[in-house]
Symmetry: C2
Subunit: 345 residues, 2 copies
DNA sequence: TCGGCATATGAAATCGGTTTCACGTTCAAA
DNA sequence: TTTGAACGTGAAACCGATTTCATATGCCGA
């Protein structure tokens, strides 16, 4: 609203001169130190308003130990990146960052082994980093841990690094319970090959167990549409095929749906299929996919808030309690669409 | 590889002391000034290596006029954001940024009217900003233009702001030409309601015209699956329905496919459908969608390179040629899948 | 009335670089 | 041999904040 931005803005020296005080006093005012004479305080306020002064963020970063900036590292081509996850997580991340008045520095390494060097490069510019959906090798973790740079894993877990993620176990359990509730008894699982899908599978098993069931079959394959398609072919050709199928991801479920159509298996009449993720395609498959929705927007927001908590806490407490380990997980939610139904009698 | 990062790193003063020269000389060396005695140069190099010195980016930003950082503004909920576009553009942006050794500061305003204030906030930290897929009001444009901050519109155009975008006209023309080549003569267009879809429509018309054809019908509707579905219902109920349909976006085409299935219209036998965007779902619709693929990865890379060009050019030439206007557009490409075929005889 | 303590404030140092300016050398031209 | 232009170099100023340290002032109780 003020003057339409001349190229050089007022500095704290200009303000100090205009208010007839020292820069120290102006700085104190800016930082909320309150024992300043009312008279001078008022002059400072007026000077700031008149000059349209705003502290230079770079100068401030140089002088202060914290920069109010977080790093955001996303693996090129990661699942989060490839699915629509990215947009949703990013939405939460940016919303929370903006609420806390934090800046975000983004970087997209192309291999997880690059991460330590990326962190090394940006650590003097950011207060901490979010690692989005990367799985880390031990070597990498060791370097990172040694760095003394606050790090938070998002949508991934590791035994030695704090994380915020989706409760995949609970999601799996929810999915299984739903099929049980529908009345299915011959339920197969199409599991993925990552640690995340292992958790989902454990959830499936526990959900089935609570209903007094054991899976008709458990098949593992790569987290991939084409592989899932082939794996499904085997499952459905059994003498007594299952009436319901728990699939570890929506993209894998898409493969299942395709193969089912090709084989003339009608869904959900002949087979109920439930996916996981609520990926962008879940709504538009034929039939639309019942799935487990991940609260990704909240995941992103939670991540920023948690990491910022680390940063400020570490700052205040230079003391001992170093490795206050933290692992938080959010509950996913069942989304019922058209790929599930009670079993045919 | 060096010492595993102690918390305080060496400064230029340490290097100067170790090399027995002044900081001025070290700085000259760092900045590539070459008239330094071989002897001292070597001592400096050794000192830098021994101390694992790296200039502090914040201190450097404070002293130098350029910061080697670009702002990346993405509208919350924009199309780029919601489709998978984001991931692909971002991939190009980050690849190019990393090649130029630039940092990226990301921000996600929730309305285009917020953009000037966001720019105002980050302008002292970045050298220029990429505006991803935002359409700007005149008010907003005026503020931005007055700011004297390098700005580049990505995937959008405006008469007063430089831009990099997709050649939607050419894409439309390519799509139309393909249908003509297949032998279709009764071709309808389902256009969107944005300026981008207007360009696509113009391309359709020109492609048809070159084949000596005029569209059987042109219907406009919102850029939305449900709306497209309804609009398509009207088109297909004509006495002489078209044998092919040009649809302004893949998501609209999804609506068309759904309605076609509901009405028993078989695609591509009864009707060829061609979308636009090559959105993530294009590959998984039934049948898979023939569409126009946008070179989004290249778009992102081109954007960074172009904006950086502005920044460095402006820096070197403080002179006159202020408004060197630039508008670049990239050619999209036809991707043939299963939703198109020659017309039934 | 005086010592002592809390309070308000400014001068100067600091963060970690870059660059100007001035000075002493060297080397070529006059 | 003198002149002076080009070169290498360091001291100090600068970028724009924050913070320490020291001082001046006011207020208290003795």
């Amino acid at each position: 609203m003020k003057s339409v931005s001349r190229s050089k803005r007022a500095t704290i020296y200009d303000v100090a001169a205009a208010a007839r005080v020292s820069t120290a006093t102006v700085s104190r005012y800016l930082r909320g130190y309150d024992r300043i004479t009312a008279e001078k305080k008022k002059r400072i306020q007026q000077a700031i308003a008149a000059l349209d002064f705003e502290p230079h963020p770079i100068a401030r970063s140089l002088a202060l130990p914290i920069k109010r900036t977080l790093g955001l590292l996303i693996m090129r081509g990661s699942r989060a990146y490839a699915d629509l996850f990215l947009a949703e997580i990013l939405s939460g991340v940016t919303r929370a960052a903006s609420a806390l008045e934090l800046s975000l520095m983004i970087s997209v390494p192309s291999a997880s082994s690059e991460i330590p060097s990326v962190v090394e490069r940006i650590r003097r510019v950011v207060d901490g980093s979010l690692l989005l959906d990367v799985s880390l090798g031990d070597q990498t973790v060791r370097k990172l841990a040694a760095g003394g740079h606050p790090i938070l894993l998002v949508n991934q877990v590791h035994s030695r690094i704090p994380s915020v993620s989706i409760d995949n176990y609970l999601g799996g359990k929810t999915a299984a319970e739903y099929l049980v509730k529908l009345g299915h008894t011959r339920i197969a699982c199409l599991a993925g090959d990552t640690s995340i899908s292992r958790q989902r599978l454990d959830g499936y098993l526990s959900g089935l167990a609570e209903g007094g069931l054991r899976p008709a079959e458990v098949v593992g394959c790569a987290f991939d549409r084409e592989k899932a398609r082939r794996a499904f072919r085997k499952i459905i050709k059994r003498r007594k095929p299952p009436t319901a199928l728990l699939v570890a991801s929506d993209w894998m479920a898409v493969g299942v749906l395709e193969e089912a159509r090709a084989l003339g298996v009608e869904i959900p009449r002949d087979l109920s299929v439930i996916g996981f993720d609520d990926a962008i395609i879940a709504e538009t498959t034929v039939p639309a996919l019942t799935t487990i929705r991940q609260p990704l927007e909240r995941l992103g927001a939670e991540a920023v808030e948690t990491l910022w908590g680390f940063v400020t806490k570490t700052e205040k407490t230079p003391g001992s309690s170093r490795k206050r380990f933290s692992e938080k997980s959010l509950a996913p939610k069942l989304v019922v669409r058209q790929s599930t139904a009670p079993p045919q009698l």
